[in-house]
């Protein structure tokens, strides 16, 4: 699946997008965040307060307990500040 990062999440991780293939035990958004956090310092910094990170699966807002199976594109970003 494709991951997208925006704003300071993108800056901390150091890339805007990547393809990943998480292990079978990673079933929800929250578990994906926990798995990503272990991939390096940038990830750990981006996800240091997981409760503030917002997630979208295939361009729809979702919660941390949402399952990720079948997702094509998962985006992580800070609270939105448009308008």
């Amino acid at each position: 699946m494709k991951l997208l990062y925006f704003a300071w999440v993108r800056e901390r991780i150091g890339k805007a997008e990547e393809e990943i293939d998480p292990p079978a035990g990673v079933a929800t958004v929250g578990e994906l965040v926990a798995w990503l956090t272990k991939r390096g310092e940038g990830y750990a910094y981006a996800f240091e307060n997981p409760q503030v990170i917002r997630t979208a699966i295939d361009r729809n807002h979702v919660r941390a307990d949402t399952r990720i199976d079948g997702a094509h594109e998962i985006a992580f970003f800070p609270p939105m500040t448009g308008g």
Partner: protein
């Protein structure tokens, strides 16, 4: 209903966009336009400009979902939403919401609803350029509270008079 949703880098003409929504129509009795502008300060500190990052496909889809929700709540005849991205200087336009209806209540309420949701649900992020460097703007609790007031059961929709 006429719906226009645009995400663009360029500035836009507020009066021309509002006129476009009512051109050739005699059933519209109320048009509300909200224009968001870039201020020269953020939390009391001067800024040189702001840069808006966005998630293009989701931003368009999310705005469209909220326009649909506004249409289900109020008897609207037209909606235009334009949101800029990229670098924006103080005094320039950032966002425009235009709502048209037969009477003012629906137009005012729908414009307010759409702006509250754009602030908290549309995937855009502001970064400001201060003397000390570039800083991502923090989300404001007041904006979340403004959006939350619409999550109460919607008013019963009445036919346009």
């Amino acid at each position: 209903m006429t719906t226009t949703i645009r995400l663009q880098r360029e500035a836009f003409d507020v009066a021309a966009e509002a006129a476009l929504l009512t051109r050739g129509r005699t059933d519209i009795g109320a048009v509300v336009t909200f224009t968001g502008l870039c201020r020269a300060d953020e939390n009391g500190e001067p800024i040189a400009a702001l840069t808006l990052e966005h998630y293009p496909d989701m931003a368009e889809a999310e705005i469209a979902r909220h326009v649909e929700e506004a249409r289900a709540r109020w008897p609207l005849m037209g909606v235009t939403v334009i949101h800029r991205y990229g670098r924006i200087a103080p005094g320039e336009v950032i966002v425009l919401v235009v709502t048209a209806s037969s009477h003012r209540e629906a137009a005012f309420a729908a414009a307010s609803f759409l702006m509250d949701y754009l602030k908290t649900r549309a995937p855009f992020w502001k970064q400001v350029e201060k003397v000390s460097g570039k800083i991502w703007v923090d989300a404001k609790a007041a904006d979340d509270a403004a959006a939350d007031r619409w999550s109460a059961p919607p008013p019963r929709r009445e036919a346009a008079k």
